[in-house]
Amino acid sequence: MRSKVTASLILVIVVAIVAGVINYQGLIAKNTKLVPKLGLDLRGGVRIVLEGQDTESAKATNDAINAAVSVIDKRVNALGVSEAVVVREGANSKRIMVELPGWEDPERAKQLIGKTALLEFKTEDGKVVVNGSNLKTAQLIFSQAQESLGEPQISFELDAAGTTAFAAATQANIGKKITIYLDSQVLMSPTVEVAITDGKGVISGGFTAEQASNDALLLKSGSLPVKLVTLSEEVVGPSLGSVFVHRSALAAVIAFLLVVIWMFLMYRYLGLVSGIALVVYADILMATYLVLHATLSLPAIGGAILSIGMAVDANCIIFERIREELGMKKTVKSAIGAGFSRAFRAVFDSNLTVLVGTVFLFYFGSGTVRGFAVTLALGVLASMFTAVFASHMLVDLLLTPGIAKNSRKFLG
């Protein structure tokens, strides 16, 4: 019996310490791999939902949407947003969701994400000689030439196939114009003077620096293979959520204290045990969030605070049971044993029922619902461990003969 308690004690302590180290790394040392992942509603940022639409020239096929996702992904990465998310909403969906946490400029995001960015070089007779897919690089430069000094321009370099095609086209069109279009708008229309064989060039389209930099970014990431329209946008200023994060952290602490006080008033010594178990619970739960990179959104935090109250549920079931067993004139020791074992089935069934529910919510729910299902399921699992296993061990461990004799101290 004693050795079993010791083994359980070591297990609980090890789990609690591991969780504590993870929490320290994530919350205090700000280890980048473990920092809490806050939802858009708490951290601020931009979320856009786009939908692929069929046009005469391009249908919104499965492949086209997948290709669009990777193009947008490149563009978003070029913007330098960390933790940006670009996902297709479901395998056969025509919708793409883009999340840019911490981004404050919705206009620029929309311009960059939804734009087709199809670059075409056309001869006078309308033949396309080179298009965006032939580009190797494109970047913003400032003109060094005397007549346009300092003007923002886009310098580009073509790939091998593009270089060959462009060389042939310029050779054949000396003295004629080659027009450069971006999304069917004329950027420039220079007259070819000599054949360009190195595949390099400069586009000057009367850009502002920002336009030139945006367009260069778009050209580099390639053009969208399908027309996308913006269905939804959500923009959250960063200071709105941060207020809530601080307040809810304080709320969690106060809720925790109130629950512990109430449990002590109701169950005395046993109540204190459930208080310790609750500390371990919060410790484990937070660490699980960090390790699994669960997104903490407003409802998820609400759910977590709710779970502080619910976590002692198993303790209440068990302690009430122990009280009943004591009423049957059992010794404290045997009442504890009987209480834990008899109450276990009720605890197990009630928690498993909840888990069954969360599995379905996760599979059929979207966004918010999923986050809630995950936090709820984690809470149930963690509370099973702390309220049943850890509490039992603590009750055995802290039960001195003195307390065991005095049942008022023991259970109030």
Binding site: V243, L298, P299, D349, T353, F372, L376
Partner: protein
């Protein structure tokens, strides 16, 4: 006699009529509110833009914007049905429901206001534009998720207990859903995506509470002598009453703190939870168990008749 001892003497099942009447009145008020809402607003509940689509823009500028000027800017951009309201010292709220301000135009609107009233404060800016089609999708998927998890909870309880136990628990849960929906209808609280979470919490809570009572009845049935089922069920609920109260009270405390401290963004969410916790605890004791008693007594009577 201590309070705990007194609870054991309560005749909860014997007052079934009282509990059912009380719940019927509360649910009836909710249903009346839904009908009134249906007639006067065209929808039993007030759905927010997450479900019906629409746009809300909250933004502050260097100078306080004038409502009439902002309205003009909106009409100039093709939106004349937008509600415009001053918010805070230098802020303005623009809101339209069931049709959205095209995300391609929202930036133009903001920059038009900026031209008149100075730079927008990006730290507190908030734009939510949900296409109606996306809102409807969310509503459909959330409802499906709710119904499926209800069905599988029923299945699980049926496997672990009995169908009658599962049915009684589910009916208790339906009771809680109606009570919560009724209160939301009475106060016309706008329902948005986080409410799906609050509803799930209510359901979860209701089930968890119900299962513990059912477990006690199951245990008592195993050692049942000749006592009538209603006495047995009454003993089960009175014995578990204190536990139900204590867990609900701790959860209630936690959510109450959230309600007080969480502030406006989560107030509707926490209100729904508070209602759900009270209703969930109540229903597992005063609704589900009496229902189970009615069911079992009906069965036993029918069996007795067949024998005779």
């Amino acid at each position: 006699m201590t309070f705990r001892e007194r609870i054991l003497t309560w005749d909860i099942i014997g007052k079934t009529h009282t509990w059912f009447t009380a719940s019927s009145i509360i649910i009836a008020i909710g249903i009346v509110a839904m009908v009134v809402n249906m007639v006067s607003f065209g929808s039993p509940l007030k759905f927010g833009i997450d479900f019906i689509g629409g746009t809300v823009i909250n933004a502050s500028f260097e100078k306080a914007p004038d409502e009439a000027v902002v309205r003009d800017i909106l009409s100039a951009n093709g939106y004349s049905n937008v509600t415009v309201q001053r918010a805070g010292a230098k802020g303005i709220t623009m809101k339209v429901e069931t049709s959205e301000i095209d995300p391609a135009v929202s930036g133009k609107i903001i920059s038009d206001i900026v031209a008149k009233y100075g730079a927008v404060d990006t730290a507190t800016e908030e734009i939510t534009s949900i296409a109606p089609v996306i809102g409807r999708d969310l509503l459909r998927r959330s409802s499906l998720a709710l119904v499926l998890s209800l069905l599988f909870t029923l299945l699980y309880i049926t496997i672990r207990f009995k169908f009658s136990f599962g049915l009684a628990t589910i009916l208790g849960m339906v009771h809680d859903i109606f009570v919560a929906l009724g209160i939301l209808a009475v106060f016309r609280v706008p329902l948005n995506a986080p409410f799906v979470g609050a509803f799930l919490a209510i359901i979860t809570y209701s089930v968890q509470d119900g299962v513990v009572v059912m477990d006690r009845i199951r245990e008592k049935l195993r050692y049942r002598a000749k006592e009538p089922f209603d006495k047995l069920a009454n003993a089960a609920v009175t014995e578990t009453w204190m536990r139900s109260f204590n867990t609900s009270f701790t959860t209630f405390l936690a959510v109450l703190v959230l309600f007080i401290m969480g502030g406006a963004p989560i107030r509707d969410f926490s209100t729904t939870l508070l209602v759900g916790i009270i209703s969930g605890t109540y229903s597992s004791i005063y609704i589900s168990t009496p229902l189970l008693v009615l069911w079992v007594q009906g069965r036993e009577k029918a069996a007795a008749l067949q024998k005779a």
